[in-house]
């Protein structure tokens, strides 16, 4: 469902400048037909999670090749392939790393048998009170300050540091609200002083926190820009009335041209105030429902400036806009050659699948640095994990406070986020507690809405310790049993959600530079307690010509269609050789030698498939 962007053109060679804005699926199909005119390609410009792509749809195919950019969609496709009993060739790349894996129901692991790294989350108090790294400042600027000023007002926000003064916490006045007729410049300075000055002073009052840490310094506008006047009406005249909202930029109006410069505290402050002014002056309509978008220049400028000022306050090194954007947008720059290698490997595995050459299936990992002169590491696929709840139907256990947690929390944090179900159905025995669907009757919908906000123990069919809930997703054909166990207390830092799911193998949080198979860009809906980074790959994984694209749930891009290709039997004589081609695309150069049956020592613990 993606469209072609200018930044794609430097390596997605099926696309030209004239194609920018068009559907990737459709243009890719046309481009491929130009050099292979006799194949059957059907593009779908849509979201792979649409109900249209059900089990029957997947059953049409002999093999499915994934080129997705988020974990959610991958899990969804995995489940559908299991339900349809169609082999799946999964893949991913991140920078110089990449891998290709084959999944066949009953014979190999499914995509979810091995835990996938989840995005790194930071404890709330590190973000709100005790940052020690620049990334903490970015998360603060993006998920707290930006969200508070420009996002949904109804969303809970941890921005105000907890003060010991009980009276102030019951204020009715929202400090961050822009008062009617308040001059924007004054508003900007007021916000600045509040978050970088006042809030820091409040935090400093809590002596305990700073015994082992460096104390932050409060920063006030008047200290950084002593000559700045409140009324700066003149600056608006610089813009012509026909300025496009999307091209508005604080950098431009301040004459700061190089995004790779590290700005001074003064420059960052100016950018902060200017960006705020531009948002209110030129993009007022969007305020109140904006979500941070790394491609929104003004948003990136604001967040970078805010993060830098906070960093300066806490004695953390400041970064350039370019670096800040990379961190805020979780950008990992794509390397064209890695994509090319992985693409080639996908085709190789696909050919093996089409020939039912099961003994030759390999999981191939592309390393960053050659190990023993080899860049690629193929291993045989493993047998299915007996305790994988997706392909082996093992029940899970959930520890939760049944007197405090609501059904809503259970659905959002466990069923949708952790279990990856799209349209869940929740049953307690024969009682339907909750359901998502298009064709529900009105009274059912009302019933579910009421249940949603009830505490678990107070549901019509009460959920307490010892209860077993059945959670299903009909589209994914996945059914899961969860044993509920009541627990009173949860550690705010380690279990911020107030729930603990077990029997579901979860990997430790992913560090930016670890060696686990990567390229599984994830997205999780942000919870109000932990503040997760939402990784998105800057540059979409290019797998040509068999490309199935989707977007993570909850992002702001338009819902459009997806592309899938069905390679039917070559119909013409000239292409008769294609299906039996065994040559590797990587030419017979000496450099890349693929040695089989040579696995990693940790992987060898698992049983090999023979």
């Amino acid at each position: 469902m993606d469209t072609i962007e200018v930044s794609n053109l430097n390596r997605q060679f099926l696309f030209r400048q004239s194609h920018v804005g068009q559907s990737k699926a459709k243009v890719a199909r046309d481009a491929v037909l130009r050099f292979r005119p006799h194949i059957n390609i059907k593009p779908y410009h849509a979201n792979v999670k649409d109900p249209e792509f059900n089990v029957d749809f997947f059953k049409q195919f002999n093999v499915v090749l994934n080129g997705l950019d988020n974990l959610d969609a991958r899990r969804h496709v995995n489940r559908l392939c299991l339900a349809a009993d169609v082999p799946l060739v999964e893949s991913g790349t991140t920078g110089f790393l990449g891998q290709v894996t084959v999944h066949v129901k009953g014979k190999t692991e499914c995509y979810e048998c091995q835990p996938k790294p989840t995005p790194k989350t930071y404890p709330v108090c590190t973000i709100t009170s005790t940052p020690s790294k620049f990334v903490h400042c970015i998360v603060w600027a993006k998920d707290l300050l930006f969200a508070k000023l420009f996002g949904d007002k109804n969303q809970g926000n941890d921005l105000n540091v907890h003060s010991s003064n009980a009276a102030s916490s019951s204020e009715h006045v929202d400090v961050f609200e822009h008062r009617v007729d308040e001059d924007i410049e004054q508003y900007g300075q007021r916000i600045f002083d509040h978050v970088f000055g006042y809030n820091i002073e409040v935090a400093l009052a809590n002596e305990e926190a700073w015994k082992t840490r460096n104390k932050p310094k409060p920063i006030y506008c008047r200290d950084v820009l002593p000559d700045r006047l409140v009324s700066q009406n003149g600056s608006f005249d610089k813009f012509c009335a026909t300025d496009e909202p999307s091209s508005v930029s604080a950098m431009t109006s301040l004459g700061l041209k190089n995004p790779q410069d590290v700005w001074s505290l003064m420059e960052n402050t100016k950018i902060f105030l200017e960006a705020l002014k531009l948002f209110f002056g030129k993009r007022e309509k969007e305020i109140g429902n904006m979500i941070f978008d790394k491609d929104d220049q003004l948003a990136v400028e604001f967040v970078s400036a805010a993060a830098n000022i906070r960093a300066a306050s806490f004695g953390i090194l400041m970064h350039s806009l370019f670096e800040a954007k990379g961190i805020a947008g979780n950008i990992v720059h794509a390397v064209a050659t890695t994509n090319a290698i992985i693409a080639g490997l996908i085709v190789i595995e696909a050919i093996k699948v089409l020939q039912s050459d099961t003994k030759s299936y390999r999981m191939t990992y592309c390393l960053e640095h050659p190990s023993r002169k080899m860049l690629l590491m193929p291993v045989e696929p493993f047998e299915p994990n007996q305790s994988c709840y997706v392909c082996s139907e093992t029940p899970l256990s959930l520890e939760i406070n049944t007197y405090r947690s609501k059904l809503r929390d259970f659905v959002e944090k466990i069923v949708k986020a952790k279990l990856g179900m799209n349209m869940p159905l929740i049953m307690h025995g024969s009682a339907l507690l909750y359901e998502v669907g298009d064709d529900l009757e009105e009274d059912m919908v009302a019933n579910y809405a009421a249940n949603f906000d009830k505490v678990l123990s107070e549901l019509p069919s009460p959920v307490t310790s010892g209860t077993m809930l059945t959670v299903e997703d009909l589209q994914q054909e996945l059914s899961c049993n969860i044993n509920i166990k009541h627990r009173e207390e949860f550690d705010e830092e380690k279990e911020p959600d107030g729930m603990l799911l077990s029997g579901w193998a979860q990997a430790p949080p992913m560090e930016k530079d670890n060696n686990m198979p990567v390229g599984n860009g994830e997205s999780t809906p942000s919870t109000s307690q932990a503040v997760p980074l939402k990784p998105e790959e800057d540059d979409d994984i290019e797998i040509v010509p068999t490309e199935i694209k989707t977007i993570p749930a909850g992002t702001k891009r338009k819902i459009s269609e997806l592309s899938s290709t069905a390679i039917s039997e070559p119909s013409s004589a000239t292409d008769g050789t294609r299906s039996t081609k065994k040559e590797e695309e990587i030419d017979g150069d000496d450099d890349v030698v693929v040695m089989l049956d040579d696995g990693n020592s940790d992987i060898s613990k698992k049983k090999r498939l023979h």
């Binding site: 060679f13 920078g95 720059h333 030419d587």
Partner: protein, 120 residues
Amino acid sequence: MNGEELTEQETALLSKSHILVSGMKGAVVEFCKNIVLAGIGSLTLMDDRMVTQEALSADFLIPPDENTFSGRSLAQLCCDSLTDFNPMVRVSVEQGEPLLLIFSIIRLNIIALSFDLAFF
């Protein structure tokens, strides 16, 4: 440069570079595609060989239509395709067989003088 976006200086350096490529085989073709898309200054291709069945399957720069490719050398065909990828790169063809490494050291010196990089 460590896999990050190119800085302005690096892009400028790239756009002033000239590369000689001899022997349009699989990995070399992939390299040409990448370097042209990245925005090299100019690329000179050297491969007088004609299209073979093997080349057709491995080289995505060759149009499959016989009428289009007959009579033209590999270098000429690849040149056309590469120009299409990035019109801002000057791709040209130099007459000559693909150079074999040992035999061509003397010739290499003469030709390579006018290029920043030679790739075989």
